[in-house]
């Protein structure tokens, strides 16, 4: 192309063509640039006899044509591979990752008791959470009173043994609920009771009773939900969006009612075999039909603490693999789309949920109510509309090339309601769509015959 011709094309068009040509391999890019320059020049020449004064309307129209050059380059870069199978079509949508997320959440459900043991004040050193492995769907359950009593007597294995539970409570004079981590006196060794005196006046909203009780030396008791307790610590969580904190309480006289969680610290040098031998409880007064010994398991708190991140990574990987299998990762485009949709699904549904899971120790247990319901119902509440929107998107999407279905076509006739009811069907810009095959694929002669019938 000669230099004079080159200059006659508007500069914005030239810049766009050059920029796009750089994206292509050099040998093909030169050819591609030459083609688009040639087409643009001749088109401009056709619009006006002289190229000296090109109006803005012509420039805009040319630029509109050149938008197609972007699509052309994208097509060439990706090899022009379009998704032609229905499974791949579904895989490209956000439905697959969301469905995979539901599966992953359902799979993780039994592990929620493990996550409850993660408390910011738990002393990790040799600490283990003891729970019952229920025969029903692998659910982890809490121990019975008989088992707790039995295990607490095994001083040769457990250096400390205690119970704890979490719930939300409202203190006198404070408008906001606090999250209570309630421990029995025996479990005090297992929690790092760091008193943060400055925390309570900041977040306690001037509750005088609580201020007086926030010292470990204070003998004042606090009535929480009808139980006389002593405040032994306050743990703030400043990084959370809502400035809540955990109020560590110690109760003097056990915790009737709901069975608490069990945490224990092993004596140094205790082997795993010895621990398993101890966990082989000879009887269970509440569930005599269970041979409970083999159902008790101990999990180190250190291992549990990183669980949300590990499971978050596992969920991401699972979704990615499922989506990748659907798309078969034939091209770079497929890989990018797969990663993007996985990340999007996690961001929309998974990340807030995992964040809530990280705070589960203080919001689970007895803290039933709307907060817990929202946490557990979040994937359903948010995931369902996303799934429905995706389905709606799929309805308006070409099954072959994934383009938007447009160009509505009236088919059938209003008089023939039963045999061939009147309806509107759509085509995509490639000519695919949901046209009835008997109409679209019939020989031309027959088609015209039918047309006459409709007329």
């Amino acid at each position: 192309m000669r230099r004079t011709h080159y200059r006659e094309i508007p500069i914005e068009a030239r810049c766009l063509i050059h920029a796009l040509a750089w994206a292509l391999p050099r040998d093909y890019g030169d050819c591609w640039r030459r083609e688009w320059f040639g087409e643009s020049w001749h088109w401009l020449k056709q619009q006006r006899f002289g190229l000296e004064n090109i109006g803005w309307s012509t420039r805009l129209r040319l630029f509109g044509h050149l938008v197609g050059a972007i699509v052309d380059v994208w097509f060439l870069l990706t090899g022009g591979k379009l998704f032609k199978r229905k499974l791949e079509c579904i895989g490209r949508s956000s439905l697959a990752p969301v469905a995979a997320l539901f599966v992953a959440v359902a799979a993780l459900w039994p592990f929620r008791v493990h996550l409850e043991a993660v408390s910011p004040s738990t002393n990790d050193q040799n600490a283990v959470l003891i729970a019952r492995h229920s025969p029903f769907m692998g659910k982890l359950d809490r121990l019975s009173t008989g088992e707790i009593k039995f295990l607490s007597r095994r001083k040769d294995v457990f250096d400390a043994f205690g119970t704890w539970r979490t719930y939300s409570a409202r203190l006198t004079g404070s408008p906001f609920p606090v999250i209570v981590l309630q421990i029995d006196p025996a479990a005090r060794k297992l929690f790092s009771l760091n008193l943060e005196k400055g925390t309570w006046p900041t977040y306690g909203h001037g509750c005088e009773v609580a201020v007086d009780s926030s010292s470990a030396d204070s003998k004042e008791m606090l009535t929480v939900n009808g139980t006389r307790c002593r405040v032994v610590g306050i743990v703030s969580r400043p990084r959370t969006p809502v400035p809540y904190f955990t109020l560590l309480l110690s109760v003097e006289s056990g915790m009737p009612g709901v069975l608490p969680n069990v945490i224990a610290r092993l004596r140094s040098g205790t082997s795993e075999g010895r621990l398993n031998q101890v966990l082989d409880v000879p009887f269970d007064s509440q569930r005599p039909w269970l041979r409970s010994g083999r159902n008790l398991i101990a999990t180190p708190v250190k291992q549990i603490r990183g669980a949300p991140f590990k499971w978050g990574g596992a969920v991401f990987l699972a979704i990615w693999i499922m989506t990748a299998l659907l798309q078969r990762l034939r091209s770079l485009r497929a890989r990018i789309v797969c990663s993007f949709e996985t990340a999007l699904a996690l961001l929309i549904v998974g990340l807030p949920w995992l964040r809530c899971i990280a705070h589960l120790p203080v919001l689970s247990g007895d803290a039933t109510g709307i907060i817990t319901a929202l946490i557990y119902g979040y994937p359903v509440v948010v995931g369902t509309p996303i799934a429905l929107l995706t389905l709606q998107f799929q309805k308006r999407c070409c099954r072959v090339c994934h383009r938007r279905l447009v160009s509505p076509i009236k088919i059938g006739r209003y008089g023939s309601v039963l045999m061939e009811p009147a309806a509107t069907e759509c085509l995509c810009t490639e000519g695919h769509g949901s046209l009835v095959s008997s109409t679209a694929l019939c020989p031309a002669q027959q088609w015209f015959t039918w047309c006459n019938k409709w007329a």
């Binding site: 192309m1 000669r2 040639g38 938008v67 197609g68 699509v71 097509f75 490639e430 000519g431 694929l441």
Partner: protein, 96 residues
């Protein structure tokens, strides 16, 4: 020989336009009413599947402007267009 493409309405329309003598990209756009983002990828695909072939105009003098790439239908493309014309009666219109 690449695998034969399953001709869509758009592809058939473009083949029809080429057969009628509109052999340049922008011309095909104007005569079919399709967007450039549809026409050019379709031309690439049709060329890759061996239904059309492209060649460059010979270098002209300054007044004629830069050379353009023009597309032509080959025999295989003609056969496929005939098949498509039966499927899409809208293509069976009057010739130019």
């Amino acid at each position: 020989m690449p695998k034969a493409a399953n001709l869509t309405l758009t592809s058939a329309l473009i083949l029809k336009a080429i057969k009628e003598g509109y052999s340049y990209g922008f011309e095909i756009m104007e005569v079919t009413g399709l967007a450039s983002g549809t026409v050019y990828p379709a031309l690439r695909r049709l060329e890759a599947t061996g239904l059309i072939k492209s060649s460059w105009e010979t270098e002209q003098d300054d007044a004629q402007g830069p050379p353009r790439r023009h597309y032509q239908l080959n025999n295989h493309g003609k056969d496929r267009l005939n098949e498509a014309s039966k499927r899409f009666p809208v293509l069976a219109g009057k010739n130019r």
